[in-house]
C-alpha cells in the first residue's frame, strides 16, 4: 500500500497536495483498493465553492457508490476530465493520473493527517 510522504490525508481516505494556495485532491491507495474497480467518476463543476468535509465528487465502483469529501475549502479551478473516459486511472495511479480536482484554497481545512498519522489510522 502506497502512502506518499509529501501528501496529507483525511480520515475519509482522501489525499491533498498543497502547493501555495492550490490544492490537488484525490482518493488514497487504500480507498481505491477498498472500493475495487472504479467504473464512473462524477466530477464537480469548475467554479463551485466547497467547504471542508463537503461531498464534492462521487466515485462508483462495481461494489459501491461513494462520496468524495473535500479535505480543504475553496473554489474548484480544474477537474481531471480524463477520468470521464478512463475512471480506472484512480485504481492504477491514485496519486498521479487519478487526481480528481484542483482547488484554489481559502485557507480552511478538515482534519489532515500526515503520512505517519494516516498509516497509524489505517492500522487501527
Amino acid at each position: 500500500m502506497s502512502i506518499p510522504a509529501d501528501l496529507k490525508y483525511t480520515k475519509e481516505h482522501e489525499w491533498v497536495r498543497l502547493e501555495d494556495d492550490i490544492a490537488t485532491l484525490g482518493i488514497s491507495d487504500h480507498a481505491q483498493e477498498a472500493l475495487g474497480d472504479i467504473v464512473f467518476v462524477e466530477l464537480p463543476e469548475i467554479g463551485r465553492r466547497i467547504a471542508p468535509g463537503e461531498a464534492f465528487a462521487v466515485v462508483e465502483s462495481v461494489k459501491a457508490v461513494s462520496d468524495v469529501y473535500a479535505p480543504v475549502g475553496g473554489e474548484i479551478i480544474e477537474v481531471n476530465e480524463l477520468l470521464e473516459s478512463e475512471p480506472e486511472k484512480i485504481n492504477t495511479d491514485p496519486y498521479g493520473a487519478g487526481w480528481i480536482a484542483r482547488v484554489k484554497t481559502d485557507g480552511s481545512s478538515a482534519e489532515l493527517l500526515d503520512e505517519a498519522a494516516y498509516t497509524l489510522f489505517l492500522e487501527e
Binding site: A34, D37, F40, V62, K63, A64, V65, S66, E88
Partner: protein
C-alpha cells in the same frame, strides 16, 4: 459458447441475441401491403429506412424468450437469500384472487358505484396496514417503495411549510441506509446529511444530537437497520428528533422483522412506507408493478396524496381533491392487482397469526447465524432480526473475498446473498431467509457455506477464484460491463 448447435448439453440451451438469430425472410404474421396512397398529412411520417426488427418466426421468438427464462433464477426455482430484499414465496392463492374476473377485468375509470367490491377490499387493506404499522392513515397510491419514500418526504416538507417553518430542508440519513433514502430526499428538494453509525452498527445518539437543529426536517431510518440489528434506542431517537422539531421517517423495507409483533408508530415513527413485494409476498421486479403504500400518524394525515378512499355510510368514495394534500402522485388509486395480492397474504394469516411471519423470519435468520458464526466473522455479535450479517474477514486471510464466496454458492446450487451491502461493513454478506423456507433448505444452504469455509481453510482456493464453474455463464466481467456497456445493437 458453441458455434454450430443450439443445445449445449443436457437440453440446457445456449441462446444468441434476437439480432444474431434473425434471417430476414421470416415474419410471424403477414401484413397486407398498403394499396392506397398515403394522405399528404401522413406522408411526412413515412419511414425512410428499415425499422431494424429481426426477422423471426413465432416459434423462434417464443423459444428465444423461454430459453432465456430458463437461465433465470427465481424463488420458484430455489432458495433466494438476498438480504434486504425479503425474497419470500408468492403463494398461488394470491394469484388466483387477483385474477378473479370480477377484480381483474375492471377499468380504472369505472364509476365508483360499479366497483364497490374492489374498493371495499382496498379500503380494508388500508385499515389493516394502518393497524399493522400503528400509523392509522394510509395511502395505497405510491407505485414503488422509493415512490413511497418520496411521497413521505413531500408530506413532511408540506407539514413544516404549513407551520410556516420553511427553513427545514435537511434530512438526516444514517450511513447504513438504503441508497434510495438520500435519493428520495434529494428528489423532494432536501439536503441530506449522513450520520455515522456507532461501533455496534446502530445510530450513534451523540452524533445524532450534534446534527439536530432548526433546519432538520426529518431523520430517515430503517428499523431493524440494514445490519439486521434492531435500533434499541429507537424511542430515544424519535424523542430527540421530535424535541428538535423534526419528524421521523421510517423505511419499511425491513418490516418483515416486526409484522404482527411490534409497530413502528408505537416506537415514535411518524411516517413509514411498506414494500408489499417484500413483507406481503407480492412479486418482485418483473413479476408485476411495484407498490409502496405509506402509513402516517395524525400529524401528517392532512397531507396524504389524492386520490383517497373515504368511507361514507355504506359506500367507499374516491376523493380526488383535498386542500392540504400534496396532490396526486400516481394516475390512479394504486396498483390494484398487486395490492389485492397483499390483501390475500394478510388475510391468509389473519390478525391472530400475523406475528408468525416475523417470528419465523427472525428464527430462520438466527438459525443461520448460529450455524455459520464460527466459520465466518460476525461484525455485530448477538441476536439478529430477520437477516444476518457476516463478512469475509476470516477468508480474506486465504485470499478469498466475499465475491468469490458468492460465486461459489452458485456452483453449489444457491442464489448468493446480498454482497458488499451495507456499505459500512467491509466485505459484507447479508443473508435473509424469510419465513418461507424449511429447515431442510436452510440446512443445505448452511452446509454449502460451511463447505466453502472449509475449502478456504484447506487452501483449496483455486475453485473459489474461478467460480462459478457450473452455470451456463462463467464469472462475468462486471468492470468491463460497467465501463464499456454495449446497450444498443449496432445497425450494420
Amino acid at each position: 459458447m458453441t458455434d454450430d448447435y443450439s443445445g449445449v448439453s443436457g437440453m440446457q440451451h445456449e441462446e444468441a441475441l434476437l439480432f444474431e438469430h434473425a434471417h430476414e425472410a421470416a415474419t410471424p404474421i403477414s401484413l397486407p401491403g398498403i394499396d392506397a396512397e398515403l394522405p399528404d398529412a401522413l406522408n411526412g411520417f413515412r419511414r425512410s429506412r428499415q425499422a431494424g426488427i429481426p426477422g423471426l418466426s413465432e416459434p423462434e421468438s417464443v423459444r428465444h424468450f423461454v430459453r432465456l427464462s430458463q437461465w433465470n433464477h427465481s424463488i420458484e426455482t430455489g432458495f433466494y437469500p438476498l438480504g434486504s430484499c425479503t425474497m419470500k414465496y408468492n403463494p398461488r392463492v394470491n394469484e388466483q384472487l387477483a385474477r378473479l374476473p370480477g377484480l381483474a377485468q375492471l377499468h380504472p375509470d369505472q364509476p365508483e358505484e360499479s366497483v364497490q367490491g374492489v374498493l371495499e377490499l382496498l379500503y380494508e387493506l388500508q385499515q389493516w396496514l394502518g393497524e399493522i404499522t400503528g400509523l392509522a392513515h394510509v395511502t395505497l397510491t405510491p407505485a414503488a417503495g422509493a415512490h413511497g419514500e418520496l411521497a413521505g418526504i413531500m408530506m413532511i416538507r408540506a407539514y413544516h411549510d404549513a407551520r410556516g417553518d420553511r427553513r427545514r430542508r435537511t434530512v438526516l440519513v444514517p450511513d447504513s441506509a438504503h441508497g434510495t433514502n438520500p435519493a428520495s430526499a434529494a428528489l423532494a428538494g432536501m439536503q441530506t446529511i449522513e450520520i455515522k453509525s456507532a461501533a455496534n452498527g446502530r445510530i450513534d445518539l451523540d452524533e445524532l444530537r450534534s446534527r439536530l437543529n432548526d433546519e432538520v426536517a426529518a431523520l430517515m431510518l430503517t428499523n431493524p437497520n440494514t445490519t439486521g440489528m434492531f435500533e434499541s434506542d429507537i424511542a430515544e431517537i424519535c424523542r430527540l428528533v421530535h424535541e428538535a422539531g423534526g419528524l421521523v421517517y421510517g423505511d419499511g423495507a425491513n418490516l418483515n422483522a416486526l409484522v404482527g409483533v411490534a409497530r413502528p408508530g408505537d416506537m415514535g415513527i411518524d411516517c413509514l412506507h411498506i414494500n408489499v413485494h417484500k413483507t406481503f409476498s407480492t412479486p418482485h421486479g418483473g413479476g408485476g408493478p411495484g407498490t409502496g403504500p405509506v402509513a402516517v400518524n395524525d400529524t401528517l394525515a392532512p397531507f396524504l396524496p389524492v386520490p383517497k378512499l373515504v368511507r361514507e355510510n355504506n359506500t367507499i368514495r374516491i376523493v380526488h381533491r383535498d386542500e392540504r394534500s400534496i396532490g396526486s402522485i400516481f394516475g390512479s388509486i394504486g396498483q390494484t392487482g398487486v395490492l389485492l395480492r397483499a390483501t390475500a397474504y394478510i388475510a391468509a394469516f389473519g390478525r391472530d397469526a400475523l406475528h408468525r411471519i416475523a417470528e419465523d423470519a427472525v428464527l430462520n435468520a438466527n438459525y443461520i447465524l448460529a450455524r455459520l458464526k464460527d466459520a465466518y466473522h460476525v461484525p455485530f455479535p448477538g441476536l439478529c432480526k430477520h437477516e444476518c450479517l457476516l463478512t469475509d474477514e476470516k477468508q480474506e486471510r486465504h485470499g478469498v473475498k466475499t465475491l468469490d464466496i458468492a460465486k461459489r454458492l452458485i456452483d453449489l446450487g444457491f442464489h448468493p446473498m446480498t454482497v458488499y451491502f451495507p456499505l459500512i461493513v467491509h466485505g459484507a454478506m447479508l443473508i435473509e431467509p424469510t419465513e418461507s423456507e424449511s429447515r431442510e433448505t436452510i440446512d443445505r444452504f448452511c452446509d454449502a457455506m460451511l463447505e466453502i469455509a472449509r475449502q478456504c481453510e484447506a487452501g483449496d482456493t483455486e475453485a473459489l477464484h474461478q467460480a462459478p464453474l457450473m452455470p451456463i455463464r462463467r464469472r462475468l466481467d462486471e468492470t468491463l460491463a460497467a465501463r464499456k456497456p454495449v446497450l444498443v445493437w449496432p445497425e450494420d
